[in-house]
Symmetry: C2
Subunit: 229 residues, 2 copies
């Protein structure tokens, strides 16, 4: 039923029998037992995407960073904190997935050393040395029998140019880009998305994240082709 | 009515006519528009303290860092994000306060520079230079006509020794110390507090944060003496 399937937030069977893996939320990179480097991702977009995939009949696993959100109905949730934990959890599930939708705002860097006890104020300036985290998207896209991979890009500037570059560089099947600004994107209920794929683009206009997530899942279902060997 | 006043979470008039200023929650020190240095304070203890002070008749102002908590009934709330914003908001209110209860986990350090656009991955390791934030507790305690000042200390090690040192060094009237560990302290509903003051100590045993907050407010009301010149 095409009409029902296209209704915003509606239920359908566009992804019946498909296994969908979603990562969502921020990661927290520990500095010591109480301090961390985080980011302003609320996880709302990813949780809405997981719910929309389940509503279209998919079997959904949601790997979630530290967020204050309820698990969507019918979704299996794996909670993680750091980028390293998210990498481990996603790679453990990716082999069995048909589609991987990477909405998480994974930290690119982590502190080189983690203090086992709370750091004391020492006076003056200090240097925090940061080292790169593993690239979850690139590692999933390099798997033999890889899933169909959809990335996200949250940018403050040159959104389309950067997102197109990431699509190609990381060998993604599709990327959903959004501009981070006041009252849109991170930490708020509304968003707008620009979808890009090899040779195509489509703008999904500003809407509630649940409506957008339902539209995104419809577009992914249309463009999905098995990639697995 | 002593019995009603001492009932956990009960209402009373122990602080009737007093103006109580509470700071609560973490601070987020921006690195760029999406990344920040944060800490694992949930703000729950501070919000419970504000609610308990209001329940004892105080006029309460709550300066809150970024938390996902509802404002307690009868409390005036000022939202802030960074340590610098919290310093400004607290100092603006402290002159009029009879009692200042500093529960917030204020960042000691902030990135020296804040990037106006999202930082890109550059490869390899990077150094993040951090500089000290102003000390809110010390600055309030140094005010002419200062309020009665109650500090908090969340520690992983040597809790009493460090808290006693902070009480003296920052010239506080009382300090409430707690140990941060798994399932106690930050990001959880229960806590235990060790109260220290010049020449005295009292342990408040592990309990729900709302019960503990009510007991803490009773002890503050007992020990309160105007400090203002």
């Amino acid at each position: 039923d095409i009409v029902a399937a296209l209704a915003p937030g509606g239920r359908g069977s566009l992804l019946a029998g498909k296994r969908v893996l979603v990562d969502a939320g921020p990661t927290h990179e520990p500095i010591d037992p109480v301090r961390f480097i985080g980011n302003r991702s609320s996880g709302r977009m990813g949780f809405a995407v997981a719910a929309a995939a389940a509503a279209q009949g998919a079997e959904v696993v949601l790997v979630a960073g530290p967020v204050a959100l309820a698990t969507p109905a019918g979704v299996r949730r794996v909670d993680v904190r750091s980028a390293a934990e998210m990498h481990t959890a996603v790679l453990a599930e990716a082999g069995a997935a048909d589609i991987f939708i990477a909405t998480a705002a994974v930290a690119d860097y982590r502190p080189e050393t983690v203090s086992p006890s709370k750091l004391k104020k020492t006076g003056g300036a200090i240097e925090l040395k940061l080292v790169q985290n593993a690239d979850i998207l690139a590692d999933v896209a390099a798997l033999p029998g890889r899933p169909f991979v959809v990335g996200f890009a949250a940018e403050t500037d040159n959104v389309e140019g950067y997102a197109r570059g990431k699509l190609e560089r990381k060998n993604l099947d599709m990327i959903a880009a959004n501009r981070v600004a006041d009252n849109i994107g991170f930490e708020c209920a509304e968003n707008a998305l620009l979808l890009l794929w090899d040779g195509g683009r489509e703008e999904l206009e500003r809407a509630d994240k649940q409506v957008l997530a339902a539209r995104l899942i419809e577009r992914i279902a249309e463009r999905y082709r098995p990639r697995g060997g």
